[in-house]
């Protein structure tokens, strides 16, 4: 069972439940829930949690469910953060770096090409190095930032999961970074929206790989 967090202001949680539902059972997880037993994976979805007041993701990290998700992740449970979910995980210190307003100051909504980087952890079993994924972005604050010394460490540790394809960096992210993992690789965050790319009817089903990776992460971690 996959749990999809829901904060006041989330807006992609139902799409995430539907997308994860194509490869496993999935249900919503209201932000007050703290009992995650029975869950095999957690998705922190996109949206504008708590209105994105102060900074995107800054307030949602203090919800009771996020504290439970932090414990779940510390015990090795796989967590996938998408867009606002990525911002929440960064603000919570569960992923390195921060997301800043786009260089253009514009909200950007379009299909982008991602390249998997060969990274650590169980998600990589489904997302081998060099794999290209066509997935949409839709965000205002997607400019990934980490200080130079931290970037060097991420590179050395294999924590950079996705980069935007050459020449396609939409928001000014440092090093074209679109997604990263934590040191153990069981927490993955990315700005693009795989839940909006699960059916060829809407342009691409490349996003399914992310949900398969989440569902199969426990087996991949044990292997």
């Amino acid at each position: 069972m996959i749990g999809v967090l829901q904060f006041p202001g989330s807006c992609d949680e139902r799409d995430a439940v539907a997308a994860a539902g194509l490869v496993a059972d999935a249900r919503l997880l209201w932000q007050e829930e703290t009992n995650l037993s029975g869950l095999d994976g957690v998705i922190v979805p996109g949206g504008f949690s708590y209105g994105d007041y102060l900074r995107a993701g800054a307030i949602a990290r203090f919800s009771p469910a996020m504290e439970a998700v932090a414990r779940f992740a510390a015990e090795g449970g796989p967590v996938l953060g998408i867009c606002n979910g990525f911002q929440v995980l960064c603000e919570a210190g569960m992923l390195p770096g921060a997301l800043l307003p786009n260089e253009s100051l514009r909200f950007i909504c379009r299909q982008v090409e991602l390249v998997a980087q060969g990274f650590v952890g169980p998600f990589a079993a489904e997302l081998e190095k060099g794999r290209r994924l066509s997935i949409p972005i839709k965000h205002m604050s997607g400019r990934y930032f980490a200080p130079d010394d931290q970037l060097d460490r991420l590179e050395a540790n294999g924590q950079i999961a996705f980069r935007y394809a050459l020449g396609q960096n939409p928001n000014g992210s440092v090093g074209d970074i679109a997604g990263v993992v934590n040191e153990d690789g069981n927490v993955l965050g990315l700005m693009p929206h795989p839940e909006h790319a699960v059916d060829p009817l809407t342009g691409s089903d490349d996003g399914l790989a992310l949900f398969r990776a989440l569902v199969r992460a426990p087996q991949a971690a044990a292997a």
Partner: protein, 80 residues
């Protein structure tokens, strides 16, 4: 509490303001940075640093400065 984008981090909001100024006839203005001001009343100012680091500012991307004003009415003058 004054919160600003960290030195060296691109501040597109500041840039946009800077670019708009000449059109209004304001010349000779450079390096515009846009930050945030948070006003709050606290019983124990010792908590301010941890409050800043945990919520009000993100130390990775922002610098903050605490300015204490002892008189709640605001006429006591600021001290850092």
């Amino acid at each position: 509490m004054l919160i600003r984008p960290k030195e060296g981090i691109l501040d597109p909001q500041g840039k946009a303001v800077e670019r708009a100024l000449p059109a209004l006839g304001f010349e000779g203005i450079h390096d515009v940075r846009v930050g945030r001001l948070v006003e709050l009343e606290v019983d124990d100012p010792a908590k301010l640093d941890s409050l800043s680091e945990k919520l009000l500012a993100n130390p990775l991307i922002e610098d903050y400065e605490i300015v204490l004003d002892e008189a709640p009415s605001g006429n006591g003058g600021g001290r850092k």
